[in-house]
């Protein structure tokens, strides 16, 4: 600090704030002091501790996840308050769900919503921008709701759930083994590590995000899961435009899987997978960004990917939320 203040005084002399004739600092004394103050503050901020205050998380979560090749990620979550005396009567302790982090649209997942707040009920067909197990059919919806509201009733104890016999249950649309496997793993495991950055606690627990517009014929898509302020699961893909309709694109991951990707596309996909791995290991969306952010493989510009990831890191992802595609059904529509 002493070196800093001496430097500042010399600076002032050189810049003529000190009037040698007058033998004193002249009218720009206030400016000089301002500069000196800023310099001292900057010096302290560089040396100061960057540690954040510890977060006071009232609950703990035990989470088990399983990822499949087709993008479905199944999760069992158990949550409870750390304070045994806390009122947990309204807490939803257990949940089992499946989200697809690779694909955003599927013709089987169309919803029909009846709008009742007008004098004539209106039926709107919605193509959701996130695939969630339960949305494909009435049967799937019944089964996932049964699991969450009956099997995983919050009033049940952990011991009751662990005592459940998988042989007593059969589902048509869901693999019960995934449910019971993840349930056992979560309930007998340790609480999930808590993220230390409040910024990441404020990120959504799940998200499917996509660049708003195609540029150079493609756009990036990023989906993630975040249970306790960490990046638990992440999938990055590239969507190549093939037409003007909402689902007119092919995905880089599919081109690679079908052996129809070019050498450059394959290389880009491998690079993307390495970036995903680094982000999950470092629990930071901008991990090792300097290694790829200026790079380009074929048409794939990683500067755009870096911008996208940085925006998520800074919790500034609004423009990446895709609008749903919907249609109002008119009288005579077959889908009514």
């Amino acid at each position: 600090m002493l070196r800093g203040s001496t430097f500042c005084f010399d600076f002032l002399l050189c810049k003529g704030f000190y009037d040698q004739k007058e033998g004193r600092v002249t009218v720009k004394k206030s400016v000089a002091f301002f500069i000196l103050t800023v310099a001292v503050l900057l010096l302290f901020s560089c040396c100061g501790s960057k540690e954040q205050e510890p977060l006071n998380v009232a609950f703990f979560r035990k989470i088990a996840r399983e990822t499949q090749e087709d993008g479905w990620v199944y999760t069992f979550k158990y949550e409870d308050f750390k304070d045994e005396n806390a009122d947990d009567s309204h807490l939803i302790k257990y949940a089992f769900f499946g989200i697809n982090l690779r694909y955003r649209y599927d013709e089987d997942y169309i919803q029909k919503v009846v709008r009742n707040d007008s004098s004539k009920p209106i039926i709107e067909v919605i193509y959701p921008t996130l695939l969630i197990r339960g949305g494909a059919s009435e049967k799937e919806s019944e089964e996932i709701e049964y699991i969450n509201s009956v099997l995983l009733d919050s009033k049940k104890s952990v011991e009751e759930l662990l005592a459940m016999n998988p042989d007593d249950y059969e589902f048509e649309t869901l693999d019960k083994n995934i449910l019971f496997r993840l349930m056992r793993q979560a309930l007998t495991g340790e609480p999930q590590k808590e993220g230390s950055d409040i910024q990441y606690w404020n990120l959504p627990s799940y998200a499917m995000l996509v660049e708003p517009d195609y540029s150079k014929g493609y756009k990036f898509q990023i989906a993630f899961l975040n249970g306790t302020g960490c990046v638990d699961e992440l999938y990055i893909d590239v969507l190549y435009k093939t037409g003007d309709r909402y689902a007119d694109y092919v995905q880089l991951s599919d081109l690679v899987a079908n052996n129809s990707a070019t050498e450059e596309q394959r290389e880009a996909f491998e690079r993307i997978q390495a970036i995903e791995k680094d982000i999950k290991e470092q629990e930071n969306f901008t991990a090792y960004a300097s290694e790829y952010k200026k790079g380009k493989i074929g048409e794939i510009d990683f500067k755009r990917l870096y911008k996208f990831l940085k925006d998520i890191h800074q919790n500034d992802f609004l423009r990446y939320i895709q609008d749903p595609y919907t249609e109002i059904l008119e009288d005579g529509d077959d889908r009514l």
Partner: protein, 179 residues
């Protein structure tokens, strides 16, 4: 003679069909082409969204003639929120008036819960619409022209166990509708 009768019958049928067609209700609603995404806010506080314009087919628009449709976004609640079924989001729908006071004409309530295993606003329902008087033509009238200026204000409940009060952008995805 036969030809004259046939012509008369055809004319009557055509008139009847035409009359039937004009008597059918007009195609349902107008709605904003744009989907709107809510601002970031803090739970427990009211956040006011920007005013949006929507054209009605009617020259006098009453409270029951317009409203809001909500959509489930492709982002979930933050990891910092406890999964409690007692959380709600209150949404007030208001028509802006530059000369007279703004008219709050609908209140919606979104209920948080688990839908398909995920914690999210599971349902939205209109819990209040400005009553319309049979004798007073001004009661419940929100705009005496076809051009509507609409905005919402909303508040997400604070609940025990929440780690932060931050509510991110886009937690509400919505658009306006009117006749």
């Amino acid at each position: 003679m036969k030809q004259k009768v046939v012509k008369k019958i055809v004319s009557v049928v055509m008139v009847a069909v035409f009359a039937l067609l004009t008597a059918l209700p007009a195609s349902a609603v107008n709605y904003s082409n744009t989907y709107y995404h809510s601002n970031a806010t803090a739970s427990g506080t009211w956040e006011t969204e920007g005013t949006k314009k929507l054209e009605s087919r009617q020259s006098m628009v009453y409270a029951g003639d317009c409203g809001v449709w909500f959509y489930i976004p492709s982002v979930g609640m933050e990891a910092s929120y406890s999964w409690t079924e007692s959380r709600k989001v209150q949404i007030e729908c208001i028509e802006e008036d530059f000369r007279d006071p703004d008219v709050h004409f609908r209140t919606y309530e979104g209920t948080f819960g688990v839908r398909y295993g995920l914690y999210q606003p599971c349902s939205y329902r209109c819990v209040w619409t400005h009553p319309i008087s049979e004798t007073d033509t001004q009661t419940g009238l929100i705009e005496s022209s076809s051009g509507l200026e609409l905005f919402i204000r909303f508040r997400v409940d604070i609940c025990s166990g929440d780690t932060s009060r931050y509510v991110p952008k886009g937690i509400l995805v919505y658009r306006y509708w009117t006749y």
